[in-house]
């Protein structure tokens, strides 16, 4: 057994960086703060890789099962003798995998940001926020119990809020940050209720105890209390899933994610592509054995919300013209994949669990690659809109190649990383839920289409384009992470993932079925071909297709009017039916009572203030009268 004493350094380094840079960086070492932050996160990344090495390679699986380790575990709040909240670090295959992903992507984003954010007046503040986010995310993935995960869950929400609203002089950024915070907070309310129900039912908040208690046969036999026809466990899991869906932008709580693209692009790459948005997937994966209890029904909610979000977001992504929004919807779609991959799994068929985690792993690399590439494109053309782009491949050669690799990876073309993970997901769906499989197949075609629509419209389309104010592709600090991530987008697929991560923590085997892969790959290639035909050169084929599907296109372009629906519900329904009556009661009854009391007090004191006349003899008279009065009362009582 290896020594994991250094493990708490991994989150401590970024929080130390946050405190140091946040307090002193802006004033004393503004130019150095970027590299200091990078150094700290780099150390964390090295430690995480070392942890992974120790955990998976040196220690390995004992008797075929990877252990769940608790290198740090302290009691924090004790409620009763049996129920307490701990603070700890839990190491098991998924948390170690997430450690590597989070620190690594964060490191890449830090390096990239030193170039991308250069010249910003709040350069140091930006890095302080990035450090805070990284700390919170690391805390989240290493949490040993539900309450701890909830604390860090809120912390990532706060840092996401701060970073989306980083350009706080832009009203749209402020609105987006508020929207993101409120929507996720709304979902977190359900999460908290779910945590409390789980804690009370399982008599513990620790993941290991929850899983052990809730899946034990005695518990399943005895605990049959139901509410509205569903068992308590189902309710708790669905509520926890709603929290996860809020963070992971699952329908219908996805509305904040596209708007969150108002933040600086590195932030989108780190938070809204690779790490924070997969927190929901991670949460479901953490509690997977409980979700997988047969007959709970919660797992089906996960599956169907996941697949619906995947398809829904893919449709919208096909119509958007803001390149970051396309990527945002693509992220939502890919997270939908991860969700339904968990949803189609069960204890017996846990291939989906592995595939989901694998997709999370590969997606982190290629999606942050795509976002960082998009950042360079935006840097070059000073616009987010693909109408202003086209023919950029000559200007941005490295971005072009790496972006292409990212697109191929997400489209699931072999041998890029996305191919392996997506095949795993589709295969898992095919074996248990064929209906989901067919929808997922269509979605993967759409994925290929919209990604290559994006690719061709940025880098091809217009034959000759003249860029104003073009000053090179960008510093090496920006191109270097692209190259690293592009390499990983190819290499990550060859990791024998099932060997390390399975639902039961055993050593599994990943097998790629060549015959099975034909259909998804063909669908993907078809999507690419259509995108190529429509968008490679300037032509009106795409416009004709749009004209043919006018209604569908408009609906998808307006994001299926979900935002409008939200506005309608909040502004018209909630505002008029709840807000206004509540305001009326507040103004007239609550305030009215207080105002009446104040008014009466004023009136009374006004009428009796004459008693305080300033005449000493008058006071003496009152005093004497009082004494006489008291005397009479005493006499009356005693006589």
């Amino acid at each position: 057994m290896s020594n994991y004493d250094y493990i708490s350094l991994i989150p401590i380094l970024p929080i130390a960086g946050f405190v140091l840079i946040g307090l002193a960086g802006k004033k004393y070492f503004p130019a150095l703060s970027g590299w200091l932050a990078t150094l700290l996160i780099g150390t964390s990344a090295v430690l995480s890789l070392f942890t992974a090495y120790q955990y998976f390679i040196v220690d390995g699986a004992a008797n075929g099962v990877y252990p769940q380790l608790l290198p740090v575990d302290m009691q924090w709040l004790q409620f009763t003798n049996t129920l307490s909240i701990n603070m700890g670090i839990l190491l098991d295959p998924i948390s170690v995998m997430m450690l590597v992903v989070v620190t690594f992507v964060s490191l890449m984003v830090h390096i990239y940001s030193t170039g991308y954010m250069k010249g910003e007046s709040r350069y140091a503040t930006f890095f302080a926020y990035l450090q805070l986010f990284t700390f919170s995310m690391l805390g989240l993935v290493m949490s040993s119990n539900l309450f701890q995960i909830y604390i860090f869950w809120e912390l990532v929400g706060v840092s996401s809020f701060l970073l989306i609203g980083f350009y706080f002089d832009k009203p749209s950024a402020v609105a987006a940050s508020k929207k993101a915070f409120i929507v996720t907070r709304f979902a977190d309310l359900f999460f908290l209720i779910g945590i409390l129900i789980t804690g009370v039912t399982a008599h513990s908040f620790n993941f290991t105890d929850i899983i052990a208690n809730l899946t034990s046969p005695e518990f399943l036999k005895e605990y049959s209390a139901t509410f509205l026809g569903f068992s308590v466990v189902t309710w708790a899991l669905v509520l926890i899933f709603i929290g996860g869906a809020g963070k992971s932008a699952m329908f219908p709580l996805h509305i904040w994610l596209p708007d969150a693209m108002e933040g600086p692009t590195p932030v989108s790459a780190l938070i809204h592509a690779a790490t924070m948005v997969v927190a929901g997937v991670y949460l479901v994966a953490r509690l997977f054995p409980v979700f997988a209890i047969t007959g709970s029904g919660a797992i089906d909610v996960v599956a169907y919300i996941g697949i619906f979000s995947a398809l829904f977001a893919a449709l919208i992504a096909c119509t958007q013209t803001d390149i970051k929004r396309v990527l945002a919807y693509s992220t939502m779609s890919q997270i939908g994949y991860m969700m339904f991959a968990l949803g189609v799994s069960s204890q017996a068929h846990d291939a989906g669990f592995t595939a989901s985690m694998f997709h999370l792993f590969t997606h982190a690399f290629f999606k942050s690659l795509l976002f960082l590439g998009a950042g360079l494109v935006i840097h070059a053309v000073h616009s987010n809109d693909m109408k202003d782009m086209g023919g950029l491949r000559k200007y941005l050669p490295i971005t072009h190649i790496t972006f292409l690799i990212g697109c191929l990876a997400i489209a699931g073309v072999p041998p890029f990383a996305g191919f392996f993970s997506k095949e795993g997901i589709l295969h898992a769906a095919y074996t248990t839920h064929p209906d989901i499989y067919y929808v997922a197949l269509v979605t993967s075609g759409l994925t290929a289409f919209y990604m290559f629509r994006l690719y061709f419209r940025i880098f091809w389309n217009k034959a000759d384009i003249h860029l104003h104010h073009f000053h090179g592709e960008g510093a090496w600090s920006m191109k270097f992470p692209l190259l690293i991530l592009a390499t990983l987008s190819i290499a990550a697929g060859f990791v024998p993932f099932a060997h390390y991560v399975t639902a039961t923590r055993t050593e599994g085997h990943m097998h790629t079925d060549i015959m099975f892969s034909i259909a998804p790959v063909l669908i993907g290639l078809l999507g690419i071909a259509v995108a190529m035909m429509w968008y490679k050169n300037e032509n009106d084929r795409a416009d004709k297709a749009v004209a043919m599907m006018r209604g569908v296109y408009r609906t998808a372009y307006h994001k299926f009017y979900i935002d409008e629906l939200y506005i309608f519900i909040t502004k018209k329904v909630i505002f008029n039916c709840i807000g206004r009556p509540a305001a009326w009661i507040d103004r007239n009854i609550v305030d009215g009572t207080m105002n009446f009391i104040a008014l009466m007090t004023g009136e009374i004191s006004d009428s009796i203030k004459g008693m305080q006349s300033g005449k000493v003899q008058g006071y003496a008279m009152y005093f004497f009268a009082g004494v006489i009065g008291l005397t009479l009362i005493c006499l009356y009582i005693w006589m």
Binding site: G610, Q612, S613, G614, K615, V616, Q617, A620, M621, F624
Partner: protein
């Protein structure tokens, strides 16, 4: 001396008390009011001494209280006269009706 009953003494002290109260309420000159207060205090002193003498002749509590009151009355008179002098400096008058700024 012995044929004077406690009733007569109490009658005198009560009369003295109400004379004092009457003076306090009707006089406008502060010095006179102070004198009226002295009357009230001394009526109380008479009560103390007489109750001590007639009810508990073996004890001296009432007499000692009286001595305390005389001492405190002297101090009180000093303070009161100091106040009155200051009021006179401000108002050029010791009429109590002239100093009534401290009101609502």
């Amino acid at each position: 001396m012995n044929n004077i009953g406690i009733e007569q003494i109490l009658f005198i002290s009560t009369a003295l008390f109400f004379i004092g109260v009457y003076g306090l309420f009707t006089r406008r000159n502060m010095i006179t009011m102070l004198m009226a207060v002295e009357l009230i205090l001394n009526s109380v002193n008479i009560n103390f001494v007489s109750f001590n003498k007639y009810l508990y002749p073996e004890r001296l509590d009432g007499v000692f209280f009286t001595i305390f009151i005389i001492a405190i009355a002297a101090a009180e008179a000093a303070v009161a006269i100091a106040i009155i002098i200051n009021i006179y400096r401000n108002h050029q008058s010791i009429d109590v009706e002239d100093s009534e700024e401290m009101k609502y």
